[in-house]
């Protein structure tokens, strides 16, 4: 089995990034204007990268499938972004953010990358404030912070419940400045359908204009993929409807290894599923767990009474409720990391205590927070002997100020008022920690092809802590890639423009066109969604929150069978030369049908419980952690990077052994 070179620089961890930057090759500013870079995806990672590369002087071509970069799904992130600023004086530091992230990721991320992430995190906040991102302020005019799951400090910066939106709009405004200067050529409503390799290097892409259907060739000296995650492999997830794996999967098929595909985050606080017609799941920010208490009834009688509508949750007294997170994890309580909270919710629901009709919901209750805030406000405003109603009114106003948009969103979807009755929540597929394998330079195993943000694998290990996805996207795009790519491009200053009338472009374009023609000509009988839902069903049932060897083996066979049926019987209406959303979906689902099988294969190989992935054969059998997930460091402290060999089942495993020099590997305890 081959090993992978991570190219992590030598030396003490706190000096690695600085030393690295001091010694890499630079491109003379005058030469940068002779170099083209393609950026695929314009969310937080791609957008910030495009803006920064253009500002440095490179010619950037940026591609987005949406009609504007501002609509990338980074926009939906709610809670916040972490940074080791220690503004609160509660003991935060670069090291502590690094430590929390490595521990939170269940010791499956690369130490050097995570340290660098923690190191540049503080710069991100400075950068975004300078761009005019309206972060929350306290009354002294300084930045406000809150706390997120898995940590014991307040390091999360936020803009109401719309932090992702505001950070994305910040990156988008930086892009707009470069578009206006002519340094970014923006291709909206374009989808990358293949990468073009010339002499072993990534030198361009084939893209489809989604309005006209035209297939276009674009060349560059390097290609950066920042196309987000693949959670839609489950059909139901919190991803946007168009979020897809196509760009990442295409580079995988051309030589980029795909790492840890089975690492998926199941987010604990989503609105539960309500019927078979459902198109996606809606996340409620984890920040709600700062003030919300999570519970189910203690007694089965009450569960039944609630499900049948004979009792309301507010009818149950404190001692009739099981605040199971506070009971099981007294140190972190409701703020345990996402994987722990998700599993605990599933455990209670599997035991029969779920509180909605399908038995797949627990309560997230704000009553105590409303009362606590109300009393505090009464004191601040010198109201003596406030009535219960007054306290509630004052408390609700505070809760509204903090989470108003989330409460409104919940009410619109569920038709219940969460100020008056507890929210119902259940875990859902959210973020994928796996992705394209990259070295310390963020370069994939294809020279000149880079991968950033959620699309790569490097920083979050097996589980992502809250408020760290935004941090990674912007760190990669603003502060890491713009340096590392220069080291590679320094060799290209004499290359000149890459021609597109070559056999490599011909071949890639032909492949893309053949596939599109197949879809529009296939006389099948079933819709694309039919296959996508079928795939999602297998993924959730057999490769979801808990998995076992038998189920995963079955999943691999079942996905293969669905894939074969898809290629025989899919029906795509319309033609190739027009806007055709069904055709777009068909290509994306075809890729998910391959990725899904590799996902199951990876999960089967990883016979340990890790992060959001609970392997039923691997649980703690005794001691205070009995029943908790059991990680196996002796056998699995590595990154699983898969090489494409045709059928997903034939993919070849390459290992990057993970070294933990700064942080001792130990059992994660949040008790």
């Amino acid at each position: 089995m081959a090993t992978l070179d991570s190219k992590v620089p030598k030396g003490p961890i706190q000096d690695k990034w600085t030393d690295y930057k001091n010694h890499i090759d630079l491109v003379n500013p005058a030469n940068k204007r002779h170099i083209d870079v393609i950026v695929v995806g314009t969310g937080l990672a791609g957008g910030s990268a495009a803006a920064t590369l253009a500002e440095l002087g490179y010619n950037v071509k940026a591609f987005a499938y949406q009609d504007s970069p501002r609509r990338a799904h980074s926009i939906a992130a709610q809670g916040g972004i972490n940074a080791a600023k220690n503004y609160q004086g509660d003991g935060d530091s670069t090291y502590r953010l690094f430590y929390d992230t490595v521990k939170g990721g269940d010791y499956r991320s690369r130490e050097a990358n995570v340290y660098r992430l923690a190191e540049v995190s503080a710069n991100i906040i400075d950068q975004c404030v300078a761009q005019g991102v309206p972060f929350a302020r306290d009354y002294g005019g300084l930045l406000d912070n809150r706390s997120f799951g898995g940590v014991l400090v307040s390091r999360t910066f936020y803009a109401k419940g719309q932090t992702g939106q505001q950070l994305l709009l910040g990156a988008y405004s930086a892009m707009n400045r470069q578009i206006a200067r002519g340094k970014i050529e923006m291709f909206n409503r374009h989808e990358m359908l293949d990468v073009v390799i010339v002499d072993g290097k990534a030198r361009g892409i084939i893209a489809r204009n989604l309005i006209t259907g035209e297939i276009e060739r674009h060349s560059a000296h390097a290609v950066v993929v920042g196309s987000g995650g693949y959670g839609n492999v489950y059909f139901l997830s919190t991803n946007a409807m168009g979020s897809n794996a196509t760009a990442a999967w295409k580079i995988h098929k051309k030589g980029a290894y795909f790492a840890n595909p089975c690492y998926t985050q199941i987010h604990p606080t989503c609105i539960p599923r309500s019927g078979d017609y459902q198109s996606k799941l809606t996340l409620m920010s984890e920040s709600l767990r700062n003030d919300g208490r999570i519970w189910v009834p203690k007694n089965m009688d009450d569960v039944m009474a609630i499900r049948e509508g004979r009792k309301k949750p507010t009818d149950l007294s404190e001692d009739e409720r099981d605040y199971y997170l506070e009971r099981r994890y007294p140190a972190f309580g409701n703020l345990v990391p996402r994987d722990v909270a998700s599993r605990a919710a599933k455990e209670r629901c599997d035991a029969g205590y779920g509180v909605n009709a399908t038995g797949e919901a627990v309560y997230l209750d704000f009553a105590s927070a409303i009362e606590r805030y109300g009393k505090e406000q009464a004191k601040i405003h010198n109201i003596s002997n406030p009535s219960k109603e007054k306290i509630t009114e004052l408390g609700e106003a505070i809760v509204e100020a903090k989470y108003g948009n989330l409460f409104q969103m919940y009410e619109k979807i569920v038709d219940q008022n969460p100020y008056k009755t507890p929210m119902m929540i259940y875990p859902a597929v959210h973020y994928t920690m796996g992705g394209i394998w990259v070295d310390y330079n963020l370069m994939t195993t294809i020279p000149g092809c880079y991968c950033i943000g959620e699309a790569n694998f490097s920083d979050h290990g097996a589980n992502r802590l809250g408020a760290s996805a935004l941090m990674q996207g912007l760190a990669d795009g603003y502060f890491v890639l713009p340096y590392t790519i220069g080291d590679y491009l320094a060799d290209d200053i004499r290359t000149g423009k890459i021609p597109t009338n070559t056999k490599e472009f011909d071949e890639a374009e032909k492949e893309v066109k053949d596939r599109i023609n197949f879809f529009v000509n296939n006389k099948g009988t079933k819709s694309v969604d039919y296959f996508h839902k079928k795939l999602g069903n297998v993924m959730w049932n057999k490769a979801g929150m808990s998995r076992n060897a038998q189920g995963l083996t079955e999943a691999m066979a079942e996905i293969k069978a669905i894939r074969e049926e898809f290629w025989k019987d899919v029906f795509v209406p319309g033609t190739a030369n027009e806007m055709n959303p069904e055709l777009e979906k068909a290509g994306r689902v075809a890729d998910f049908l391959e990725l899904g099988e590799l996902f199951a294969k990876d999960a089967l190989m990883r016979a340990e419980s890790c992060g959001g992935h609970f392997r039923e054969e691997s649980a703690e059998e005794s001691g205070p952690q009995k029943g908790e997930a059991k990680r196996d460091d002796e056998n699995f402290a590595f990154v699983a990077a898969w090489e494409y060999k045709g059928e997903p089942a034939d993919a070849v495993l390459h290992k990057e052994e993970l070294e933990f020099k700064e942080i001792e590997l130990k059992q994660r305890s949040y008790k």
Binding site: Y87, R137, N176, A240, Q278, T282, D529, P581
Partner: protein
């Protein structure tokens, strides 16, 4: 519930469009409006027809992509939401629902219900940013204190999702709520002051160039805005423009 849908079909930007009637059955009141459209599209695909093209993505009310005109209102009858947040409980069994694309000269139809809103992009490219390098060498964020009140107001303006409902509902197809929101966000913050005059002039010039009309204080935009962006932002934009031109 069973519904009759009257939907605008248009093959591409050059084709002539028309309203076409469709029937859907067994719609649950818990479905979102777009899930109801999914049901219709599945039905169309299964009978070998082309589904209806409509813009949508996050389905959480934040990306600003979905853009339908439903029974004469952008994003439908409910206040403060996008089409993806509209649920079928807002309709009754047997209803007839009219669904059209956003209509404005500056938003040409691309196909069916999909319109081209890149005019908004060009307005932002004309100045909707602060000219700061993304170098990582900016000053410490707390060195720029901002009063909580101003930060909150800037945030309220910045909450605009760029969906275009304000334009679609305005009898003048004015984009002043959208542009006002962008101008306000930067006008309320100390960071963007140096170039404030150029910013507002350039953005307003581009807005006019794109063919958007002017504001006549009807206020429909504020009522239909899914994010509650207030008319105050238009007033602030006008004040900023006056200040810039003095």
């Amino acid at each position: 519930m069973n519904l009759t849908l009257k939907i605008w079909r248009q093959k591409d930007s050059n084709a002539k469009g028309q309203m076409v009637d469709y029937k859907v059955a067994d719609i649950s009141e818990h479905m979102s409006f777009l899930e109801m459209m999914d049901v219709l599209n599945e039905q169309l695909v299964n009978s070998g027809e082309e589904p209806i093209a409509f813009d949508h993505d996050c389905r959480e009310g934040i990306c600003g992509t979905c853009s339908m005109f439903i029974n004469g209102e952008p994003h439908g009858p409910d206040r403060g939401i996008t089409t993806c947040q509209l649920h079928m409980r807002s309709f009754k069994d047997g209803d007839t629902i009219t669904i059209e694309p956003f209509r404005a000269a500056a938003f040409p139809v691309i196909k069916d219900l999909v319109v081209d809103r890149t005019s908004f992009e060009r307005i932002q490219q004309a100045g909707g940013y602060i000219s700061v390098n993304t170098s990582g060498n900016t000053q410490d964020a707390n060195a720029i204190p901002i009063s909580k009140h101003d930060a909150d107001e800037a945030m309220d303006a910045a909450a605009c999702i760029g969906c275009g409902a304000c334009v679609a509902t305005c009898k003048n197809s004015s984009a002043m709520l959208f542009v006002g929101a962008k101008v306000s966000q930067y006008a309320l913050l100390p960071q963007g002051q140096v170039e404030a005059a150029d910013r507002v002039r350039n953005m307003v010039d581009q807005m006019d160039l794109e063919g958007f009309g002017n504001c006549t204080n009807t206020g429909a935009c504020e009522i239909e805005c899914p994010k509650g962006i207030s008319l105050e932002n238009i007033a602030r934009m006008n004040r900023e423009l006056m200040k810039a031109n003095i």
